[in-house]
Amino acid sequence: MLAWSAVASAAAAFVACLAGWLAGGGSVELAWAPTLGLRIDLAFDGLAALYSLLATGIGALVFAYGAGYLPWHLEHVGRPAHDAWRFWPWMVVFMGSMVGLACARDLVLLFVFFDLTAVASYFLIGFDRDRDARGAALMALLVTGVSAVALLIAAVLLYDAYGTFSLPELFERAGTGTTTTVAGVLIAVAALAKSAQVPLHFWLPRAMAAPTPVSAYLHSAAMVAAGVLVLGRVHPLLVKSDLVLDGLLVVGLVSIAVGGVLALAQDELKQILAHSTISQYGYVVTLYGIGGATAAGAATLYVLAHAIAKSALFMTAGAVTVTTGESQLSRLGGLGRRLPALAVASGVAAATLAALPLTLGFFKDELFFQAAGEHGRLVQLLAVGAAALTVAYIGRFWLGLFTGPLRARPSGGVSPLLLGPIAVLGALALIGGFVVEPFARLAEDAAEVTHVGGLDVAPAYHLDAGTENAMALAAWGLGALVLLASRFREPLVRAFARAGERVGPRRWYALSLLGLNRLSDWAHDTEVRDLRNSIAAVLVPAAALIALAFVVTPTRGSYAAGSLGADDLPIVVLLALGVAAAVTAARDRGRLRPVLALSVLGFALAGVYAMAGAPDVALVAVLVETVLTLVFVGVFARLPSASVRRPRLRARNAIIGAAAGASVFAGLWGALSRRTPAEGVAAEHIERAPGAHGGDVVTVILADFRGLDTMVEITVLAVAVVGIASLLSRGRPW
């Protein structure tokens, strides 16, 4: 029921997106926080249409597949059926944030949706909640989430330089220069981490701990696509710097190679596909690095064809595992005769990835070769190598599964719910091989956002001896050679994979995480070993900071002693009372007396506030003092009456206390010596309070002038209460 409502919502969203695209799009713009330049600027343009259609269309198919897969999975790992509630809502949230990300035309909004997808993916990857899945989820969140901060930094840099977060305005205003280059690099880092590009690729293979529908959705058409979506969206900014483009080109080519070689080295089905995804998005990144009209069109068509093929292949891996119970390629084989429909459907998907003719995939490589050819001889050669690698690893995957001797026996046919979505995607890829126009039009609309200015995406079969055809033939030949020469290939790719494990970035991730953990443990141990240390951890840095401020600021004239009149007598008396209470609290060895002395001190200070014209502060101070005293009394009433061991007075405590006291004294004196500025925000607040129908300026500030601050503060209070309830009684509110 739940699963089918998810399917229905995805299908409805797909129809809406399709209608929106055919109607020519549209845009919404709302004020969010105008004074900060924040707007909710969503546009359903070509790029948004492409990625929304992918997210909702493939979403609907994968959700339908999941409706068949998840019950099996939950039963397989021994979890109750209602745990589906921990799955489907996140899938839908993910789909929603993906559509939002596709439409966002504002850097801050882009960042928000970027992180929303990361949060949803955290819960989806960690769905199985075992050690492996949780580590994988954390790794995906850390790698993509921490890099996403680079996007925010870039947004702030650009805002500082050009005064806007809006992308269309930035494209106009931003010039070539260091700011644009640095911002471009930062945005690229965030996008490349999300698209699992070398050297931040290692989270993706680990994320295969997720259930198969999650991989089929997030790791083919959605989460990893978010990175290249951002690249496509901000591309007019990136082209202003050659450094960024060259960087993209290098990262893309290296990712193609590393992902492809590692895909050849893997034995587990989903691992092969994960490394293939790294490699395939490497193609797209390469194309964005090449830049220009042809490459922009090639990139969008590539994303489209890859998403269709890769999600079908992920679902194939899941279906094979469901029916045979095996997930290693070396223990599988010969399934073609037993599961002919699955073999054909996934065969079309594999052929699409390998860019064989009569599939949509052929055109993605045709455009890729064309763009590479325009860029130069070296890139052209590397492009052929890349395509050959793809042919080799995807051939190894499909041939290994469906041909050769039968190894693991399937326990029956594949259920229609699992087969259906794969067949639909296979059919789509096949239709694309004959009628490419609708796909090309979608890609063209999307590419027009990336490459401002006219462009024409018109892939077709050219039966001639053109360069692209020659490159394609060379790639297939080379790929077949790599595929067949398994005796030479195996030791090489194994050695590469081992080297990667030993010195690769994943090891650096583990080491840095370990180091951070140790640092945090050390800080925690030193700080909270006992109450004295926790207090010292606040007092000592405060004292040190104020002492530092002393050293660097001029002190002449900043410490004044005013005159003392007869009117000040009440304040002086109250302060003297406070001093006496403070000394008592510090010196008295009893239990209740120091507490009472402390509350006397608090009430004395409240009296001072009342005298000094701050009745609101005085009211709050009285209330808080009363609450604190009551808490102490309530706790003491329940303590055993036998006296506890009293700590000795230590010189260290006295020194820390004296240093903190002296620095606070000096800081306060300096603050009180300054003249109150006659004009300023305080005066304006007082002047405007009657206009807001208020007599008490403090209340008016809290509820009106600074209402948003109050809102955030009370939200923090609510969150704290939820936290207390979760920690003390497992979230039961009462």
Binding site: L623, H693, D696, A718, S729, P733
Partner: protein, 145 residues
Amino acid sequence: MSLILEVVAPRLLGPAVMVAAAIIVKGYADVGDGFSAGVVVALAVALRYVTLGAERAESGLPVLRHAPALAAAGLLLALAIGFFPVAFGDPPFTHFPRPGEHVVEIGALELTTAVAFDVGVFLLVAGSLVEVIHQLTRLVEGPRR
């Protein structure tokens, strides 16, 4: 605890709620706001816990168990007041009536959305603090019922 305190403390809740109401009603024109009002109510409840013990304090006043709901309602009310102007194209925390417009007054109570926001703050603070008292006494005295 002395007998006088045991008799007086539970009877302080009514006056405390009255004081809180007064603080809110007068708050926009005079000293005090929703936060202070919330703390006053929580103070009376805390006094009840200290004198009667948690068990008697809660069984004698079952209405206390609605504190979490009260806090949630306060948060929602504050959110709604703060953000409903967005629906009409105004920035968040635009209060009505606007400056210069006429304000309906019932005695000292001014009917403005700012006061309603303050009521939300009051509900949240009072509910949250009572909830914290409940959780902490549970921690000290172990689960009840």
